[in-house]
């Protein structure tokens, strides 16, 4: 009997000396992998413009129908995003969301990103519908605006007017048009100041 007791207590003693497996959660947080999918964020370009162009592809891709996007046209004087439109209303119902990351994959501008933040619990359903105020980043990211992607945007005009403007440029040949393009690029970098 004594032998069995000693054996049992020996096991206890051995376990006592072993490294504790417990993560002391509120004080020490577990290291998440880079691919962990938590709370969403809408990123900004380095000049402060929002990357989201309000294309609604994330809304279409979402299997839980948790995302609501309502785009609006940019004001050319004070644009929110480099494109023609921006997400005027952007809501994610965190309680519907299953954090599958399909929205992140669907996003053509890589604006939507799932962070590693997981502490989201709250007391009401309404407070867990995240809007633009909680989704759009306050800080900028190192991404640069891809100027070759976005066409010039000076506000909405009737189609025949813009066609008339482009017609002489096509006749004058390559060098002139490239000079024009660089001019336009300069004009855009001026107007692309953070709103």
């Amino acid at each position: 009997m004594l032998k069995a007791l000693a054996k049992g207590m020996g096991t206890t003693l051995r376990m006592l000396l072993r490294r504790k497996p417990t993560i002391r959660y509120p004080y020490v947080k577990k290291e998440r992998s880079a691919r962990f999918r938590g709370r969403h964020e809408l990123r900004r370009y380095e000049n402060g413009l929002e990357m989201c162009i309000g294309c609604e592809l994330c809304q279409v891709a979402c299997p839980a129908a948790a995302i609501t996007v309502m785009p609006a046209e940019n004001d050319p004087a004070r644009p929110n995003s480099p494109g023609e439109r921006y997400a005027w209303k952007y809501e994610i119902d965190m309680l519907r969301c299953i954090f599958c990351g399909l929205c992140e994959e669907a996003c053509p501008t890589e604006a939507l990103h799932l962070t590693r933040e997981f502490e989201l619990a709250d007391f009401s359903r309404q407070s867990l519908i995240f809007g633009r105020d909680r989704l759009v980043n306050k800080h900028t990211s190192p991404f640069k605006v891809p100027h070759h992607v976005y066409p010039d945007y000076h506000g909405w005009r009737p189609v025949h007017e813009s066609e008339a403007e482009h017609a002489p440029a096509a006749e004058s040949g390559a060098p002139a048009s490239s000079a024009q393009a660089s001019e336009r690029g300069a004009a855009r970098s001026e107007e692309a100041q953070p709103a």
Partner: protein, 159 residues
Amino acid sequence: MEMTNNQFFLTSVEKFVRWAQKSSIWPLTFGLACCAIEMMNLVSPRYDMAQFGAEVFRSTPRQADLMIVSGRLSNKMVPVIEQVYRQMPDPKWVVAMGACASSGGIFDNYAIVQGVDEVLPVDIYVPGCPPSPDAVIYAVLKLREAIASGQAHGGVMRA
């Protein structure tokens, strides 16, 4: 009514009772779906919820204070969950764990209740599919603070 001028004793007792309530929220073993697998992890040595007073999962509602609704609730299950909730002694709290329990999640169809708050008074919602055990521990800690400050009384069943 005579005591309105001197409530020192009563408030102290109430504070003590709240402290006692928040320090021993024993959860109920009530797994409904895949979230229950993460719920099991709560009492594993890795996430050890016993350090916050949620000592053991009780298999009978008579001994439980906290119902963690872990998983989708089907319409067929509603009478069962209502009975189990009634059998729990007051005060009692409900955590809606995961997307399905909180809002129905991706199962927006005829069979699934669109959020357990349609049948039970939910105290705290945890987003995630499934939420990681530390996300649930975060919710329980938040609930503990709410109990201590008197915001979460341990709801009474809707008539």
